[in-house]
Structures are given as structure tokens and as C-alpha cells.
Symmetry: C2
Subunit: 215 residues, 2 copies
């Protein structure tokens, strides 16, 4: 018997390659439709070899979900060189583009991750927390005090944005620009609604709100 010479990747590189392939395939199917057979076939390896790199289908799915969430977080990173409101609009634009490119993937991440599976839910919760924390950090960087109520409102706002974008894709009753405009304005709106609501504060946000609209 003569051994055939083949290009062999280091185990970690092969693992990363298989995860990246999984994320890529998610563009056109939901996570629960991502079969081990399809991955193995697309990668040109045997089903058995795949299980050399991942202990189970569940572990593979978790790694793919984690990588997809990391990609979404990376793409929606606020640009620190922009003014906060402008950075918010740019980040929301990237977010909407991401969901538009991967609608089924995104819905399965939101829904699947909200499911009974504790590990999947942890990825989802961590993603939401990261997105909310980034906003808290931007507000704090302005030298503003971020009250516990505002932290709560920002966590709720992440769910608000997700729901609006999913419904927007499903219904298409609102233009893309209108969607981006309303999402951008909704963050100061809910942050404001979570403060004591004094007239002075309201007026200052009112002014900031006008600035958002004007470009």
C-alpha cells in the first residue's frame, strides 16, 4: 500500500475553515438546516473526519453561531472618528445590510438562540449585551452619567431594533432610508424616556433630534 500525498491543514486551521464554511452556507439556509453531510460534502471531506474536529453536530452549530455573531458585531462596530449620532447611523446601516444579506441566518440566530438550548441562548445574550454595552460606552465617553434606567432602556432598544428590522424585511411598507432614520432617532428617544424627563433635558434632546434629521 502506498500513502497518497495530500495537502494537510493543521487541525486548528481546518477547524476554522470548516466554521467559516458553515457561516458562508448560512447566507442561504437556516442554522437548523445546516447538515453535517452538506458541510462535509462542500469541504470535500468525509462525515467521519468532520467529527474529528467537532465532538458533535451541536458543537459545530454552536461554533458557527458564535462566528456569525462575531462577524455581525465586527461589522457594526461604531466608528470612533465620527460624531456619536453619525456613528450610530453608520452602525445601523451596517446592521440592516447584514440582516438583508443573511435574513434567514439572522432570524434563526435571533429565534434559534432564543430557544430552549442554553448554550445557544448564551451566545445570543452575549451578542445583545455586547451591542448594548458599546452604546453605554459611547454615552459614557461623552462625559454623561448613564443611569441604571438608561442601561435598561438601551438593552430594550437592541430588541426594538431587531424586531423593527425583521418586520421591515417581512412587510416592506417602509423605505430603507425611513427605517434608518427612525432607528437612529429611536435611541435618543428611548434613552430620554428613561430619564426624569425634565423640560430642559427634553429640549436639549429635541435639539439633538433635529440635528439627526438634518443632513
Amino acid at each position: 500500500m502506498r500513502a497518497t500525498k495530500r495537502v494537510r491543514l493543521a487541525p486548528e486551521a481546518r477547524r476554522a475553515q470548516l466554521i467559516a464554511l458553515g457561516v458562508e452556507l448560512l447566507a442561504t439556509r437556516r442554522l437548523d438546516e445546516l447538515s453535517v453531510e452538506l458541510i462535509a460534502k462542500t469541504a470535500g471531506i468525509s462525515r467521519g473526519l468532520l467529527f474529528h474536529y467537532f465532538s458533535s453536530k451541536q458543537e459545530f452549530h454552536l461554533e458557527v453561531a458564535r462566528a456569525a455573531a462575531a462577524e455581525m458585531i465586527r461589522r457594526t462596530q461604531p466608528d470612533p472618528t465620527l460624531a456619536p449620532v453619525e456613528a450610530l447611523r453608520v452602525a445601523l446601516t451596517s446592521f440592516v445590510e447584514y440582516v438583508e444579506e443573511n435574513p434567514d441566518n439572522y432570524k434563526s440566530l435571533v429565534r434559534g438562540a432564543a430557544s430552549g438550548d442554553a448554550d445557544m441562548r448564551a451566545i445570543f445574550d452575549e451578542t445583545r449585551r455586547t451591542m448594548a454595552q458599546r452604546i453605554v460606552d459611547v454615552i459614557a465617553a461623552q462625559g454623561l452619567e448613564v443611569q441604571a434606567r438608561v442601561v435598561l432602556a438601551i438593552a430594550g432598544w437592541v430588541a426594538y431594533v431587531e424586531e423593527c428590522v425583521i418586520r421591515w424585511i417581512d412587510t416592506g411598507t417602509v423605505s430603507r432610508d425611513e427605517l434608518l432614520d427612525m432607528l437612529t432617532k429611536s435611541l435618543p428617544a428611548v434613552a430620554l424616556s428613561a430619564t426624569d424627563g425634565e423640560v430642559g433635558t427634553l429640549l436639549s434632546v429635541l435639539t439633538a433630534d433635529q440635528a439627526i434629521g438634518a443632513d
Copy 2:
């Protein structure tokens, strides 16, 4: 053999009784923990008899989820004799009370219903739609035009409230009154952020907003 005489309920009444019992048991456990054995034991019937009324555990769980959602909708019905903002605050108070009484049940409804099961998701979507539509109806009853963007914002707002209340229960960093105050104010805030944002409209909402704070 002599037949023992027992009080026999009509099938529909027995079915309704078992569903009500399921909803009751949800106060202290999640839907996925609601076993057929527990229900049968608590109702004093055999496991086999339960399957005389429900074709499967899945059907039983769906009926329990449907009844729990209907109860939540009933309890948070806005009072038409109150001014809209006051009706909103009262309805939100009922909602927070409902979630406080049934935290695990509520989380499992939100999470479970957001899961891969299409029937369960349909109940959840229908509940969210009903809650959103009620608000659209109240706004329309004021003679105001409800733009597509505002309809989208209201759908997002329902997700916002759910997320805020779930996080509030988990963290406890904000008082109950503060929570109710921020949730009540957040509805006009997001509705406003979804309009064109003209100064006149903003000012009128600003005034309404002050009215919410003053009581």
C-alpha cells in the same frame, strides 16, 4: 363487575379544565417542564385518559400556551374610559404584574415561542400582533393618522417592553415605579422618533410627555 358511579364532565369541559390546570401549574415551572404525568396526577386522571382529550403532549402544550397568552391579553386590555396615557400606564402595570407572578412561564412563552416550533411561534407572533394592534387602534381612535413607520415602531416597542421587563426582573437595579414610568414614556417617544420629527409634532408630544410625568 359493578361500575363505580363518578362525576363525569362533558369532554369539552374536561378539556378546558385540564388546560386551566396547565396554566395554573405554569406559575411555578416552565412550559417545557410541564409533564403529562404531573397534569394527570394533579387532575386525578390516568395518563391514558389525558390523551383521550389531547392528541399529543405537543397539542396539550400548545393549548396551554394559547390559554396563557389569552389570559395575559385579557389582563392587559386598555380601559377605554381612561385617557390614553393613563390607560397605557394601567395596562403596563397589569403587564408587569403578570410577568412578576409568572416569570418562568412568561420567559418560556417568549423564548419557547420564539423557538423552532412553528405552531408555538404562531401563538407568540399573534400575541405580539394583538398587543401592537390595540395600541394602533387607540392612536387611530384619537383621530390621528398612523403612518406605516409608526406601525413598525409600535411592533418594535412591544419587543422593547418585553426585553426591559425580563431584564428588570433579572437585575432589579431599577424600582418598579421607575420601570413603569420609563415604559409609559417610551411609547410616545418611539412613535415620535418614527415620524418626520417636525418641531411642532415634537413639542406636542413633549407636552403630552410632561403630562405623563405629572401625577
